[in-house]
Symmetry: C2
Subunit: 274 residues, 2 copies
């Protein structure tokens, strides 16, 4: 039997049984495409699980929908990272959206996802979507005051995404948003990556007037406990709880989850506030 | 390096690096006491992680407090299973409680916990606590209409705890509760143990007039997503959200978590309702 283990820290990991594996080496990272017994196809970048057919709906719904629902009329959306296409798929469920830009640095992630993960990547060819194979940092420099929503769908802050968890980058995101724009970012695991989590949230807070962190259960991510952070200068997210989600066909996000999105366990709010 | 993997299903597992291990064989099961790098001391029964020093607070707070807070005046509390003592420790934080019975079938679990897990088991010697080394099924037959709260702190429904996930057992629990009594049970992982979860919740619903399921992030349990179910004939749990928890010194349970305790992801409510 073939087993793959992601060492989520030096001392603990997620182990999955593998039917078949394919390995690619891009300019930026090692890309594994595993066919697993428990989670279906699994995309792994530099040893870290990015998405699986079985639980990807949780991450993609929870990154995309709160930000889009919080915005009054989201038309232009940018996804940075997210080459698998799952976030773009969720963004397109919002009928107000006219234009989706995806900025992914690694072309091979997009190609592998298109070939092996069609249920995730299937909307990358949608007419509203333009894919840019570029560095997110440079991409933002050329597009000021343009987007309604920017979603940071990044891998861990080591490797290609490291520079995109820094204050300077969040400032660029803010400059590329319109006045009432909203950012949502994945901000790591509060349990097994406390420092990454704390730093990301603190840097976001330093740049935006309002921010709110929320969690979701993601079985294949470290500790199964994942965080996201919403940020905006002109939106305090207070209207979010009353939004109608019935047209989004979600499998994770429910009215009740949306209503209580910012309810954090005490130890998690303590990390952010201390 | 020594590694331990719990195969949470045939096809996926949690892997932890081990400093030192001790193995005991009781009349009922294999007991491993691992000293791990990531989670501190870890208690493992028949290969399944029961509790770890680092994340035990989540499980024990979330099993004990909702039921005790929902009851107007909990005086007599029974914990079935829970030989590590963590649930008893949380129960004793409620000042109304006068008498705590612990009914654990495996004496060796209690002994190992007392010796190696003092921060978890430390309250088992409290004057309000009586420990019974007995089969939960038989124990309940002798105590009808007695308890205000009964907490089912059981291992998975295979091995020693199998009989304690059945309708017949929930009926005995109900008969041992007073009229306004409340049961709380751990009801497995909705993600990796969907059948166990569904069956437990359905059997509880078949026995009690009111029941409510809630989740907590438990990193060392399957999928990191764990469920609990409250049940009662004469309490609908609607007052729970306004209870004051400031005196409980919790690390997971917060006012907001309590307030939105029953907010479930859509796929989880779908499992229960279908």
């Amino acid at each position: 039997m073939i087993w793959f283990t992601e060492y989520q820290t030096k001392n603990t990991g997620l182990t999955v049984r593998v039917k078949e594996s394919r390995r690619f080496q891009s300019e930026f990272q090692e890309i594994l495409l595993l066919d697993t017994y428990e989670y279906g196809k699994m995309l792994v970048l530099d040893g870290a699980v990015q998405t699986t057919e079985r639980d990807e709906f949780i991450y993609h719904e929870m990154l995309a929908h709160p930000a889009l629902l919080a915005h009054q009329n989201p038309k232009r959306v940018l996804v940075i990272g997210g080459g698998d296409g799952g976030t773009v798929r969720e963004v397109l469920k919002h009928s107000t959206v006219e234009e989706v830009h995806l900025c992914e640095i690694d072309k091979m992630v997009i190609e592998v996802s298109k070939e092996y993960l069609p249920t995730i990547s299937g909307k990358l060819n949608d007419g509203k979507v333009t894919v840019f194979v570029e560095d997110g940092n440079k991409f933002l420099d050329e597009r000021k005051n343009y987007y309604d929503v920017i979603l940071l769908d990044l891998s861990d802050p080591v490797g290609p995404a490291e520079a995109l968890f820094k204050r300077n980058f969040y400032q660029k995101v803010k400059a590329s948003l319109r006045e009432d724009g909203i950012m949502a970012a994945q901000t790591e695991s509060p349990f097994l990556q406390e420092e990454y989590f704390k730093t990301a949230v603190q840097e976001i807070k330093a740049v935006f007037k309002n921010s709110q962190t929320y969690l979701a259960f993601i079985p294949t991510y470290p500790a199964g406990m994942w965080s996201f952070t919403l940020a905006s200068d002109n939106n305090d997210f207070s209207t979010l709880k009353d939004k109608n989600i019935s047209n989004l066909n979600t499998k994770y996000l429910s009215d009740k989850i949306l209503n209580s999105l910012f309810a954090l366990p005490k130890f998690v709010s303590d990390i952010i506030e201390k």
